[in-house]
Assembly symmetry: C2
Homo-oligomer: 390 residues x 2
DNA sequence: ATAATTAGTACACAATCAGTATTAATTGAT
DNA sequence: ATCAATTAATACTGATTGTGTACTAATTAT
């Protein structure tokens, strides 16, 4: 149920209106009677609120259509649906090595999309320039211009202090101290909501993907690095300084190689996508890529599946401890190696082995539903200011 | 600000009433005008609500007293204070080896307290019998009987499924499958709210101790076992099946001794209070106890401090990973060895070493303020149904 | 056609909050 | 001592809102 509002009558009405909009957002199309049943608000009030919302153009009636009815007889309901608000939202996903931009209707239906490879890590300014250029291209393809933009969200490959909007951590020199939101805003002339890429992915899967409806979820992004977005109590957990979920730098080998973070034997040094390719390369003549590795896995290549399974077990070892502590309902695996069944089953095996039986029993481990779109969908959710934000 | 309520006018009024009660609970004594300023509710509404509350006996006026005034002139305010509601609340803390019962006014001022040593782990039924007996004794001391009890809360040494109220995990045979709340209710004739002891401790420190005012806190209970209560986003995080915070069974030595949970090398096998005493005993002729060990540490005994410091480092190693994931504002150390400065500084050192610098910098590591009363105070908070519950 | 059933609305009503006097109680200046 | 100034509390009025009841609308089954 919805929460959080003020103390006046006006607030109360706004609250009820929000409850109805939420119900419509999750259920698609409902009649006024359905809304009254679902929300607990009386039919008369629903009628009144819906009337206002129709006047404001927030919802539209869907008359005469199918009008499916349960009992058989009775007056057919007039279904209500959220109106697609004018304008579009823009989602920007800055990965370590790619930039993806999506332009979507405010119902989050994607209208245009652009992806390019880019060395984001080492050229922050260039990446932001490219993102702005891609945004303009995608807007043009969608038949829009910057004036029609209602919101912009962005995921960036590093921890963001979500009060100041600055990149706090020192992992990527070209990003250090930067305010990526302000930077993109300068280029687009529109405010930008920013979160790190793992949070964006979590938000994407939470709003539109495999994590929908769960209160406590760990979203793991396994790609060039390893990060996590934690959904706790139905909300994204960012922590005191906005760096919660940084599981990539948990030490898994005391005497492992030195990580870019300065520590030794971090999870990230063991299971990053480049590392896996490096492990697998000697067995192949062709130049391997992540996509090729996953394809080999699908085709049953033992080496590829072994590498992915081992990586899953290593990640699962870390997640097991976290699941012991957090007892979540689901682990959703994303990132570009996330779709690998071998990786997911490796995580599952490791969690089953190392987490407490009760925690493991309550846990569902799945690949994300959105694939490499999770982050950009999350960026769209940020732009739409969907409720799940903290 | 307060949150969470329904959609009707009645709900709105209840909400505003709650807002006022909250303000009074935190600020002690306020005039109606103060309340209007603090809560944002209009003076007229505050007057009306306060009138109702006076009629119901929820608040009392404090006329003529000091009546401190800011400006100097003007009609002196009538201060309002929460009335101490009739009746008392009972908190029961079942540790592994002790039982503690407190009877408190509903303002959480403790009226009577009883503590005994008891082998709770191996005799659940006996422990509950003893708890009921102690409750009656403490009630008598406070000049009350069971009829005057307004609420009972209890912390138990094992994970509780907080929907069914049953002990879920299999760690303690005599407790397996038991419904301790229902059992104590049968003995006292009064409903009992139950949580595990680490949650109770967290709730105690959150409501009355070192964790007050923080949104994200890890409370660690270091005693016969090691457990944690996680406060995330200002609320106790119980997880999907109510077993969140079970950090005692994180593996810290792959080839360590077998734990009572069946796994090997669990944190609990390395740093439980009995284990520390066992480590320290050879250097002493007298039979050591936990209290004596802490006293030795205070007196500067190198061995005792070394053992405690090492234990802190081991715990800190586990907490570092958790702090990387959760980025909390504070770690509060409780349990019977929690007051040891060596333990706390060991945790601090380990966290500084193994957690990311940003997460460590945001973190405050302290001993709990409530000492061995944390759990029973948390049980009182449960009984008072203080807001922090999930 | 008619009854039954379900959806949606109109209207009277009560609950609630806010704004504006009005009254109350005190200080300080004359 | 008296009176203005100041702050607190309340009474009253008015507007907004949600609910319940009665009513109309639209369809199916008989």
């Amino acid at each position: 149920m919805r929460t959080r509002h003020g103390s006046s009558l006006e607030d109360l009405r706004r609250f009820n209106r929000g409850t109805i909009l939420d119900a419509l957002a999750t259920s698609g199309a409902l009649s006024r009677a359905d809304l009254a049943r679902v929300t607990g608000v009386s039919r008369a009030t629903v009628s009144s609120l819906v009337h206002d919302m129709l006047t404001d153009g927030l919802v539209v009636e869907e008359r005469g259509k199918g009008t499916p009815h349960k009992g058989g007889s009775g007056r057919p309901p007039i279904l209500l649906r959220l109106a697609t608000p004018p304008g579009v939202v823009v989602g920007v996903d800055l990965g370590h090595r790619h930039i993806r931009v999506a332009v979507a209707e405010r119902t989050s239906v994607i209208r245009a999309e652009r992806t390019i490879a880019f060395d984001v890590d080492h050229d922050a300014a260039g990446a932001l320039d490219a993102a702005a250029r891609l945004t303009e291209q995608a807007l043009a393809e969608a038949g829009q211009d910057l004036g029609g933009v209602a919101g912009v969200g962005m995921g960036v490959p590093g921890p963001v202090d979500w009060r100041s909007g600055r990149i706090t951590s020192a992992v990527l020199p070209s990003w250090r101290g930067l305010s990526p939101g302000a930077e993109l805003e300068r280029r687009l002339g529109h405010p930008v909501s920013v979160d790190n890429d793992a949070y964006a992915g979590a938000l994407g899967e939470l709003s539109y993907g495999a994590a929908r409806g769960f209160d406590d979820v760990i979203y793991v992004k396994a790609a060039g690095g390893v990060g996590a977005g934690l959904v706790l109590g139905g909300r994204l957990h960012r922590g005191t300084s906005g760096i919660a979920g940084e599981v990539g730098h948990v030490q898994v080998h005391a005497d492992g190689p030195v990580c870019r973070c300065g520590s030794r034997g971090c999870l990230e040094t063991q299971v990053s996508a480049p590392k896996l390719i490096q492990l697998l390369q000697p067995a192949h003549e062709e130049e391997l890529t992540v996509a090729r590795m996953l394809e080999l896995g699908r085709q049953g290549d033992a080496g590829a599946n072994r590498v992915l399974d081992d990586a899953g077990r290593t990640i699962g070892r870390v997640l097991a401890d976290l699941c012991n502590s957090l007892n979540p309902a689901a682990v959703v695996v994303g990132g570009d190696i996330g779709p690998s069944p071998a990786l997911v089953s490796g995580i599952r095996d490791s969690v089953d082995r190392y987490a407490q039986p009760d925690a493991a029993a309550a846990l569902r481990v799945t690949a994300g539903e959105l694939g490499d779109r999770a982050e950009v969908m999350g960026a769209l959710a940020l732009a739409l200011n969907v409720s799940a934000a903290a």
